[in-house]
Symmetry: C2
Subunit: 271 residues, 2 copies
């Protein structure tokens, strides 16, 4: 899926919502635990109830790996279900990978070929040759961590490096990498005030913005400072949508919460 | 496995060798491909031939993830085989993970509980609250990327941050984190000249040192600048050992290569 197709989906659905599929067996409705594959059963129900309200789904791989083989199998079933039934939806493997060149190529194969995700999140600490193997895949996107939504972002990311904050160095340096057109960036909604500066460096790149909702980020603020001419935003909400109810009505309540965000987005897009 | 047990194994075996189990089906001997699980068959043969020469094994998870479910299964069988047959060997999941707090906890569970590794490599970019969930596990170790062996290390890690290189900031800041006694650090052998400075900041911490052999790092140099009173080094070699032959004699040749390194280490330890 290329960027123009994503923009076209955003315009069609009047939504730039990404739903985070972070499945924790301690938090999903109890009646699902008797299913053969409770993780996939949960995801399928959430997807069936919300696919018309969002343009992207983002499973965080940590939640699947924590359940070992059955978790990895549930991840595989989830991405296959999305690709078969909703090929127009932009899929993100939130994996935060990154390793030396030949090893990053193995990760890229894992997520782009074996699992057939449209994109994967990648950590920048190891530099150019750890990221370019991901960028080498045509029509796939690499979403680089820039300024994350957590408190620990202030430990290194906002520190001044050669006269400029590290996350800005990451943005500027990454623009020089081969196939940098395939880059998107993670910028936390909890740091909306940084977005104007970020847009000066990368005016058109798509930003994946976690932290709206449960983590306290504000959608209006993010859009005020972060929206580009091509929208350029994917706003992620995970817990605020998928765990809004843990009763039998969980999928319906998730759809209601997704609809609230979608309608707020529709209003912003029409302004 | 705690640090004292690791030191005791190093003294017993006169070796601080770690063997990287980076299994690529394109590189292993062809006759193994007819096995039901070629990846595990390869690992088992390498382990059986080398366990007395090394104190640690390090599967890089990328190589397993690239093969999807069957790769994950082979990883599980490999760590189970090690834990059942060689509980005195220090196991490293080279996964380079890191995410916001609750998500890092899921990764820690995946590697420390579900797979029962002794340690996992973690990227520092997201700061304190992305690393402390790993450190919370008693008798487990978190191996933080500091100065990696690749060229991309010069993109950000060696840049000056508030008057000091970023990798030094990572070393110093991480010492203030809760349970920092459970920290080890990745420092590439290709950057041996940095080791004296690193030892000024972390005199006793264990360093996992990749890059000896295929990547060009020099064992003598690494030991000259990096060895601590407690040895404090785990020298990793992957391709130089496991792919030394791709014939039927691959395990025997791997043992010979491991033996060469072990004997070099024995000599250094006796000096």
């Amino acid at each position: 899926m290329n960027t123009n197709q994503l923009i076209s989906e955003i315009q069609k659905k009047k939504s730039f919502l990404c739903i985070g599929l972070d499945v924790d067996l301690d938090k999903i409705p109890k009646h699902l635990l008797k299913e053969e594959d409770p993780i996939f059963a949960f995801n399928k129900a959430i997807i069936d109830a919300t696919y018309h309200l969002c343009v992207s789904y983002k499973p965080n791989t940590a939640f699947y790996e924590a359940y070992g083989l059955k978790g990895w199998k549930a991840l595989e079933k989830t991405i296959n279900y999305l690709n078969e039934n909703h090929p127009d939806i932009f899929t993100i493997a939130d994996a935060k990978r990154g390793d030396i060149g030949n090893t990053s190529t193995m990760y890229a194969k894992a997520f782009f070929e074996d699992l057939a995700f449209d994109s994967v999140t990648v950590a920048p600490y190891m530099g150019k040759d750890s990221v370019e193997p991901f960028l080498a895949f045509e029509d796939k996107h690499t979403i680089l961590l820039a300024l994350t939504s957590n408190q620990g972002a202030f430990d290194f990311q906002t520190k001044t490096v050669d006269g400029k904050e590290l996350y800005k160095q990451v943005l500027e340096t990454s623009k020089t990498w081969k196939n940098s057109r395939n880059l998107m960036y993670v910028v936390g909604a909890t740091k909306a005030e940084y977005l104007a500066d970020i847009r000066n460096i990368i005016p058109d790149s798509f930003l994946l913005v976690p932290g709206v909702g449960a983590q306290g980020g504000n959608l209006q603020e993010v859009c005020k400072y972060g929206m580009a001419d091509n929208v350029g935003l994917l706003i992620n909400s995970s817990r605020g949508i998928i765990y809004a109810s843990n009763g039998e009505d969980f999928a319906q309540v998730a759809a209601e919460k997704a609809k609230e965000l979608q309608q707020e987005m529709q209003l912003i897009l029409s302004q």
